[in-house]
Structures are given as C-alpha cells and as structure tokens.
C-alpha cells in the first residue's frame, strides 16, 4: 500500500482503522465471547414500583430444563463491598450509590431486578425466567415529577459545598428579570429520553480463580469498571480484568456500573462457570439510566435595543430515591451571554424510578433547550433577528469565571452556518414562508461544552517488524478513537498509519479516563503524542551509540521510515531498526503520562457549536420535516474530518429525535413504562434526517493541549433541539415548550 504523505496525518479524513472489522462482523462485542462452559442469565424484574418482596416462588423455574441456578435476595451470596460501600474514606462523599442487587427485599422502582435465572442456553433461561412468581407488599409510589415538584431539594453536593456547580448561582441582583423593561418568563419540559445504543447492554463475567475476575463488558471506562467491581468483591484492582475492545454505542449509559453487571458476577460465582447476561430492549428502559425528565423555568429581560439585562434559570430534574444524580443543566446560562444579572437554581426530585445517567450532551443539552428557546422568544419580542440578538450579547470573555476564553470562534461558526442554511431567507414574522400546505421556517440554537482534559498514559513500542504498537486503556464507543490516535501517532513518528497499531479497551493497558464528556482526544491525544516523542528520543539515544548524527539531533527531528531511523529524513543518517532492536526489548518501549497543566487556571475552556435548521410543517397534519440542518463547530483542531463529521451528524440526528419524537412515558398509576420498545419509542429513521451539513472552524486551541483539540461529542447535540423548535415557531407562530414536538401539538 502506498504510504501517505507523512506530515499530513492530523486533519486527514482517514477511514476508520476498524471499519472493515465492524462491517464484516469480525469486531467482537461483549456478548460475543464464547468461553468454554459459558452459561446464560436472564433477569426477572419487579412488576410493582415500590414496596417489599414478601415471597418469591422459584421452584418451577429451578425445575425447568437446563436451569443451573435461580438467584434472589433470599439465596444470593454476600457481596462484601455492598456492606462497606460509602464507608471508604478515600471515596468522595456522594449520596447513595448504585442499587445493590439482591441485597434486600426493598423494591425501589418498577422492573427492578428481583431474580436472575442462569441456564445452559439463553432460550431456556428466558423461558424459566417467566416461571418465577413473586408476591409483594405494595406501597404508594411516586413517578411523576410535576406532582413532586414541591418536594424538590438542593443536591447534597451543593449543600456541602456552596461553590459546587450544583449550588445556587448569583451574579448581580437576584431575579432581576422581574423588574426588566422587556421580559419573558417561560416553562419548558423535556421528557425522559433513553440512550438506546444499537448494542444492548451486556456482560460476560468469568471468575478465572476464586479471586480473579475477568469481565467482557459494555463499558465506557475499563478502569472505572475495574475499580467498582474490585471494590464490590474486596479484590486488589489488578485481580480484575475488564475487556471492552468494541462498544456498539453507548451515549452515556455505560458511564456507570449497573446492577445487571453485579448480578452477572454474583451468578458466575454461584454456578462457578462464566455467565453471559444481555439485557432486553425493554430492560434498557429501566436498568441502565436515561436522560431525566426535567422541568425548567427561564426568566429573561432585555433593553429595547437588544441587550440582555437579566436571566433567571431554574430546573428540577428527576433522580432515584437511592442515588442523587446531578448534571450541568444550568451551566450554559451562566457563561453564554453577556448579562449583568444571572440567577440559577438547580433542584432534584427523588422518584421511585431507576437512576438516570448522563445522556449525550447531558444536562447542557437539556438546559440549552430552555435557554436557546428563550433567546428566540426574546428576539421575537424585540422584533430582532435571533442571530443579531445573539451577536449583541456575545461574550468576549467568560462572564461567570471572569477569565479569558482559551479560544472562542463562535462568531465564525455563526457566519458559516448562516450562509449554508440560507438564513437570509428567514422572515422576522412567523408563518410568512410556505410551499403549498407546508409552512417553512428557520431557527438556530447554540451549544457549548467544557473542553475537559484529564491525565492519560500511553505505552509505545517499536516492534521487530518495524511497526509501532501503542496501548491505552481508553475505550472507543464509536467516535473513532483508535483511528485518530493512529493518525496522531503517525504524524508524530513520521510513520505511515498502516505501520501503527493502537490497542485499546483493556484495563491492563496504561491508564486513561472513561470515554465521556468529549474528553478522550483532549486527554489521550497528547499522551499519544508525548509517548511517540519519548519513543523517538529513546531510539535516538540508542542510535547515537552507533551514529554520531543522532547524538546532537533533537527528538522532534527524528523520523521513522520503512526499516530505518533517520534525522530529518536524511538518508545519510540511516540506522536500521534491526540494529536498534538488538537491544533488550524494554529499550524500545516507553510508557508516558500526559497531564493537563496550569492553563485551566488562567483560561476558560469550551467548545462551541451552532445549529441552523430549516423545517417544513404541514399545516393540516402537523407533521414536521427537517429539510436542512447545518451544524458548525469550534472544536479546536479537527484530527479527522471524517470521524469528526460523523460525530456531528450523529449528534444532529440525535437532536432531531429529541426535538420531534423521543419520549419514554410512564403510566403513573402503575409506575411502568408504556413505551418499551422501538415501536413505541421512536428514534429518527433515515427519512427523518436531511443530509446534515457540517462545518468546522478548525482553529487550534493552544491552551487545552499541544494538539489544539477541544472536544466534539457533546456540542454535536447541544442546541439542536431548540434550533428545530425555533424553526417550527418561525414556520407556524406556535411556540412549543414541551418536547417532543409531535404532530398533535401543532394542529
């Protein structure tokens, strides 16, 4: 294969390194490991929402063919960590924790696992699971947020620490919008939404020895999973191996350790064989988190010439009774626009449901629906173009932290997006444009998310065949981590990408954080870069002993080419790998940690995006078609236009779902979901999405890391739903403040 130009790897739209494996089915996901002696487990869920399990009849299930065990809280072995959880002084003081499965008889939410059937085939386990019969003592449950809004409370983290981002925030005067000249006050609701990645949550648990556990797990963080289950079983972390080489999407629901994982591990102990447990699509609604139903109120005032004078943003999000889940719903409101007075109040309502977990663009996407809708409402009140209104309130430094932005190219995004969507066609007056029975409108929504960076370690080694092997415990849940790391390594080493292997997804590899919060490229990218530089330096050192040119060379100038090491590509300086590799193995390997420096103290670091939508709304049937969607991002350096573009498009399609169709609905009388499969819970199909246009400013941020990246995953969805809602208003004059915007709301 022809080698690509060696200095142009970063930014090249390279195909995914694992693309072929994925499309041919060769990529192995957590439910696809066939270990000898494997068994299959199926969870039985509670049919009541709150109360006690008084008895459970497992006899028929136990007698069913192929059944090896039926585990309930009556017979489950003790999980040592369940008793000590929360008592570890080194743990941050959180409130509550994941449900401790099979520990007691309390029912805390509907479909809470009450039994696990293990059998020699999945079909037999599923059949027997239906034979388990439970008796309950029911108590009155609460599953409706609005009905429980009066009991909403300040999160414990905020009570303990008034500087916590969950604490009430105040700049200028409290609720100053109420006395503003031109003001609005609106309430917004987003329903529960469920991540629903294509791959169902699954785990294969294998006790390779009584104190050695291997987990093939769907997780976004191999090390977090290792830590959690080592703690549950009082094991040294190195005794637990977590393997997540491929993850079929997650969108956040594999950021947490869940009860089904504990259950599989318990079961593997009980039957003393490996156990595979895969949730059903229905169980994906109840057992592995969701974007919480959230109520918000936003008050805003402005001067007649379009300067915001005050914003108050309040929200109540739902959480479970056993775990306080918080997210940054109000963060964007504190820093996005130049307003002298800002008040935010974040509250939780604890309901009898399972715990939520961050879902793509998490709280910020929820909050942006309120803030960006309110911006549109205010622009309308002021009779101003919404883009112009945003420009008049643009912030050149962070008004919350009073620090300069590390970089901010949001104006450039505005310009790119407005041109591509044809913003000049937008009419100030709603309902002005039509094509037959279809009303046409344009709307915009802005997104931002912190450019987070954490520590990461990468191992790099030159192999005898002249290729370089890199290893890191990070996961790749779909964004193309393996691909972009290969590119970064290729560019740093001066080697073609074909000569590089980037291994990930195993807890035994050098440390990296969990893949979430758009932080992987920011964190692992520089570690790859530094590991590659260290490797070059090491090789230079070895080469120097036989070749004087290397003794004085800088590590940056050392290049690796086919079979040889050179200084700056100069053929006269060539040293054959074969010669270098005569050294003991360790000599050609390095392990390097890269950490964020003090820049975070000096600068406020965020990625930014803007989404522009053109919609068509049928005036009789209320159907909405998004006819154009343009997403523009200031995400720093774009390492791979193709995978980055995929991220933006995927986020935009997720935003269409959020705006127009996704809603998980509970019948509060029973506390059970009435939407529990893809026939009832709609996600967009191809026909719902236009060909999303993506544009990047592609300006490096010199402060986040040496690569200049800022993160993409979240800003891809944050702001999309309000862009569509605002476009619908522009088309119809109808302001819908409760998502999703289904046809019934528009007729």
């Amino acid at each position: 294969m022809k080698e690509q130009a060696q200095d142009k790897q970063i930014g090249a739209p390279m195909n995914r390194v694992d693309g072929r494996l994925k499309v041919t089915g060769a990529a192995k996901y957590s439910a696809e490991y066939e270990i000898p002696g494997i068994t299959y487990a199926v969870l039985v869920g509670s049919t009541i929402t709150k109360g006690r399990l008084t008895s459970i009849d497992t006899r028929a299930a136990e007698r069913a063919p192929g059944v090896l065990a039926v585990i309930t809280h009556f017979n489950s072995p003790k999980v040592p960590g369940f008793d000590t959880a929360g008592k570890d002084p080194s743990q941050p003081a959180t409130v509550g924790g994941p449900l401790k499965i099979f520990k007691d008889d309390l029912i805390r939410f509907n479909d809470q696992p009450i039994a696990l059937v293990v059998a020699d085939s999945w079909e037999r386990a599923r059949f027997a699971a239906r034979l388990v019969k439970a008796q309950y003592a029911k108590e009155k449950h609460q599953t409706n947020l609005e009905a429980n809004a009066a009991q909403a409370f300040l999160p414990t983290s905020a009570k303990k620490n008034p500087k916590s981002p969950m604490a009430d925030y105040q700049r200028g005067q409290v609720d100053a919008y109420k006395t503003g000249a031109i003001k609005l006050e609106s309430e917004y609701v987003i329903p529960t939404e469920v991540h629903h990645p294509m791959e169902l949550q699954s785990i294969t648990a294998h006790w390779e020895a009584p104190d050695r556990l291997t987990l093939y797990d769907k997780t976004q963080g191999t090390l977090a999973t290792r830590r959690d289950f080592a703690r549950e079983w009082n094991l040294p972390e190195e005794n637990v191996k977590v393997i997540a080489t491929f993850v079929g999407g997650a969108f956040g629901n594999a950021l947490h350790s869940w009860p089904h994982e504990s259950a599989a591990i318990i079961a593997a102990k009980v039957v003393n064989r490996p156990v595979k447990l895969m949730l059903t699509r229905e169980q994906m609604f109840t057992m592995v988190g969701y974007r919480p139903y959230t109520w918000q109120k936003l008050g805003m005032s402005a001067t007649p010439d379009g300067k915001i004078t005050a914003i108050t943003h309040e929200s109540i999000g739902q959480t479970s009774t056993y775990e306080e889940f918080t997210e940054s719903t109000l963060a964007q409101t504190r820093m996005m626009y130049q307003s002298p007075n800002v008040t935010t109040r974040y509250r939780l309502a604890a309901l009898d449901i399972g715990s939520p977990i961050w879902m793509r663009g998490p709280g910020e996407a929820t909050g942006a629906f309120a803030l960006e809708s309110a911006m549109d409402e205010m622009a309308h009140l002021l009779n101003l173009d919404p883009l112009e209104f945003r420009l008049r309130n643009y912030t050149d430094q962070d008004p919350e932290k009073n620090k300069p932005w590390s970089t901010k190219f949001l104006k450039e995004c505005y310009q790119l997006g407005a041109e591509r969507v044809g913003w000049n066609k937008r009419q100030l007056k709603p309902g002005s444009l039509r094509d037959g029975d279809w009303l046409i409108g344009y709307g915009m929504g802005v997104g931002t998310f912190g450019a987070h960076r954490g520590a990461a370690t990468v191992g790099a080694q030159l192999l005898p065949n002249g290729t370089v092997l890199l290893q890191c415990a990070t996961t790749d849940i779909g964004p193309g981590t393996g691909t972009v790391m290969t590119q970064i390594a290729a560019e740093t080493l001066g080697l073609s990408p074909q000569k590089i292997t980037f291994d990930l997804g195993k807890s035994s590899y050098p440390k990296a954080g969990t893949q979430g919060g758009s932080s992987t490229v920011n964190s692992v990218g520089p570690a790859v870069q530094e590991a590659c530089l260290a490797l070059k330096d090491k090789l230079r050192g070895i080469a120097a002993s036989s070749n004087a040119a290397f003794a004085s060379a800088k590590k940056e100038d050392v290049t690796l080419t086919d079979g040889y090491l050179t200084v700056g590509g100069n053929a006269a300086t060539r040293v054959a790998y074969a010669d270098l590799l005569r050294q003991p193995e360790a000599a050609t390997a390095v392990t390097v940690e890269a950490k964020p420096g003090p820049e975070g103290q000096k600068y406020s670091m965020y990625s930014f995006s803007v989404h522009f939508a053109e919609v068509r709304v049928h005036q009789l049937t209320g159907e909405v078609r998004v006819s154009k969607l343009v997403s523009c991002a200031d995400a720093g350096t774009i390492v791979n236009e193709k995978t980055a573009g995929n991220q933006m498009k995927g986020g935009a399609v997720g935003g269409i779902g959020m705006a127009l169709m996704e809603h998980a609905t509970i019948d509060d009388r029973f506390g059970r979901y009435v939407t529990k499969d893809f026939a009832d819970y709609h996600v967009p199909v191809h026909a719902d999405s236009p060909d999303v246009q993506v544009a990047f400013v592609n300006q490096p941020d010199p402060h986040v890391n040496a690569l200049g990246t800022k993160g993409i995953g979240e800003i891809a969805i944050i702001g999309v739903a309000p862009a569509i809602a605002n476009a619908i208003f522009n088309a119809t004059g109808k302001r819908i403040r409760e998502l999703p915007i289904t046809p019934d709301k528009l007729i």
């Binding site: 239906r130 029975d437 049928h618 127009l660 169709m661 029973f670 009435v674 046809p743 007729i747």
Partner: protein, 327 residues
C-alpha cells in the same frame, strides 16, 4: 422456550382440520406478528399450523374484480401491475405500512389479523381485557394517546393497526374463508368487530376458519386516490391516524362517487359512508371536503390523551381528499 408443535400441511383441508380440532392451535403465515407475540408470552399456541405450502399466493382476475390470495406478500401485492392499475389505493396503503423487510414477509391474511399495538396489551404485568378478559382495560384511564375515538366500549378502546385494511374496507372488498363448515364470503366491513363486551375477539372468523383470499371489485377509483398516514416519524411507525380516500370526478369537477375510511380511530378499519354521501354530487373543492370531514367526525369522542384526534381526523380527511383530487 415454550414448547409447541409445528406442522406444515400441503392440503387446505388438513390445515383447517388441524386448527378446528385443537383450540390451542394457530395458523402461521409470515409470522411477523404471531412470533413477536409468542416471544413476549402474549399468545401461547401449543401448535403452529404453517400455511405457507398452501397454494394461496396468486393475484388473479375473478368476475369483475381482483382476487388476491391470502398468502400473497404485502410487497408483492403493493407492486403488482394489476393492483396498481385497478386498485392503486391498496398499493399506497400497503406501502405506508411497516418496513420493506416486513412487507417482504407479511401476508394479506396475516395483515388483516394482526393484533392491536395497545401497549397495555403488550405488557403482561398490565391489565388488559383483550389479552386476559376480566382484568380491566389499562388504557381506558391510562396513556391512551394512540386509542380509539369511534366504536369503543368501556371494556376496550384499542385501535386496529393495519393500513392495508383501511384501503380494503374503503374499496368494498370481501374476504373469502374456508372452514370446517365449508366456504363463505364476509364483506370486509363485517370482518373485524367492535370490542363490545368481548374485546378478546378481533374478528368474526370462526375457529378453524382459514382466510383464502380477498376479492376487490373493480371500480372507478383508478386515478383520484390517496392514502394519508400521519405518524410521529417519516416512516416505519404505526399511524396516529390515517385516511384512505378515493374519488371519481367527472369533467366538470363534480364528484360522481367517493370512498373514505379512517385508520387508527377504532377497533376496526372505520368506513365513513355518511361522509362519502356528503361528497357525491358536489364539486371537488376544499370546501366540500371540509363539509364531508365534519360529517365524518360525528359521534367521535376522545379520552384524556387522544383529544388531538378530533382535530387531526378532519384535517387529515381534507388533506387526503385534496391530494386524491389532485392526483
């Protein structure tokens, strides 16, 4: 898994006998509905009588109509040249249903007999009179966004989910069945039932009766037809509400004949004969369509979460008629 027997007769009589003599037996055609229901434990037949070897796939002319075999695939019927020429409305309705993959498996007989998509029916832990008579209707005071506005009872407010059936009831089709007591024809409008006190019965088929064909009489509805389906996404979703409209319009823009039916509003495909009469003899204008839509909605009554259908119904009728007239 649930144990069941499986037989695959090649003779019609053998298939009928197998089901007539065993109350726990069920025919299976494409399996796209029955297998799902079995996996969830909602239907638990002890015996499956696979009818796919019976010669019931033909689409042929019969007297003054088209005779469509019960085992003709939804996709085959939708794409059939004769169907598209003589009964384009049927083709449109079929293509509005499910997905290409499902239409390639689903049969005409199975489509008519698919069961409701009421989510209480689908959840064994919820009350449902249709699934388990006497347990109550979960939807009546529950989340009834998808439910009926016509012809319901306090025992059941479910809707029939088939798109194809809405077109067939509009087109005056008849259903040919063969049973233990011989053959008979059932007018399509009498095929499905209203729930009344026995919501567990979807249709008037007798035990062991096999659908052999559907006959659609020729009519003047070869041009001005439309199937308007309103759903929560652009494709691959059941209807919130749908309308099948067929018009015969003369050179003076006067409506000579009309057919109108709605889906997603009742326990059966809902034929709107009064509205049809309100159209005949009138000019094919939006005004006329609006008048007919008002007539169509008489007697409709909504529940807590489906009041939108009272407005979506007439709007969709107007839209369907407008599109049909312009076709």
């Amino acid at each position: 898994m649930n144990q069941f027997q499986y037989v695959r007769p090649t003779k019609r009589q053998a298939a009928i006998d197998a089901v007539a003599k065993d109350t726990t037996a069920k025919f299976i055609a494409g399996g796209t509905n029955l297998v799902d229901l079995m996996k969830r434990g909602i239907m638990t037949p002890q015996k499956l009588v696979d009818i796919n070897r019976l010669p019931l796939t033909k689409i042929e002319r019969e007297n003054n109509g088209l005779r469509i075999g019960a085992l003709a695939l939804n996709s085959t019927v939708a794409d059939d040249k004769q169907v598209r020429e003589k009964q384009p409305l049927l083709s449109l309705a079929l293509n509005a249903g499910a997905s290409a993959q499902l239409r390639n498996m689903a049969t005409v007989g199975g489509n008519m007999l698919q069961r409701t998509r009421c989510s209480y029916f689908y959840d064994l832990a919820m009350p449902c009179n249709k699934r388990e008579p006497g347990t109550g209707c979960g939807a009546l005071e529950g989340v009834n966004r998808m439910h009926a506005i016509f012809g319901f009872s306090d025992k059941c407010i479910a809707v029939h989910p088939s798109d194809m059936s809405v077109a067939l009831v509009a087109l005056d089709a008849t259903v040919q069945v063969s049973g233990p007591r011989g053959n008979r024809s059932i007018p399509f409008a009498d095929f499905h039932r209203l729930p009344g006190d026995t919501p567990e019965k979807d249709t008037n088929l007798e035990p062991g009766e096999l659908i052999t064909a559907v006959v659609v009489p020729d009519g003047p509805f070869t041009k001005h037809v439309h199937y308007q389906k309103v759903r929560e996404r652009a494709s691959y979703a059941f209807a919130l509400l749908s309308v099948a409209a067929a018009l015969d319009i003369d050179g003076n823009n006067t409506i000579k004949a009309a057919r109108l039916a709605m889906g997603g509003v009742a326990h059966k495909p809902w034929r709107l004969t009064a509205a049809e009469q309100a159209l005949v003899g009138k000019p094919a204008t939006e005004d006329t369509f609006r008048q007919a839509a008002i007539v169509a909605m008489q007697g409709a009554k909504a529940f807590k979460y489906n009041a939108y259908k009272l407005k979506l119904g007439p709007n969709t009728i107007v839209q369907a008629l407008k599109t049909a007239a312009a076709a």
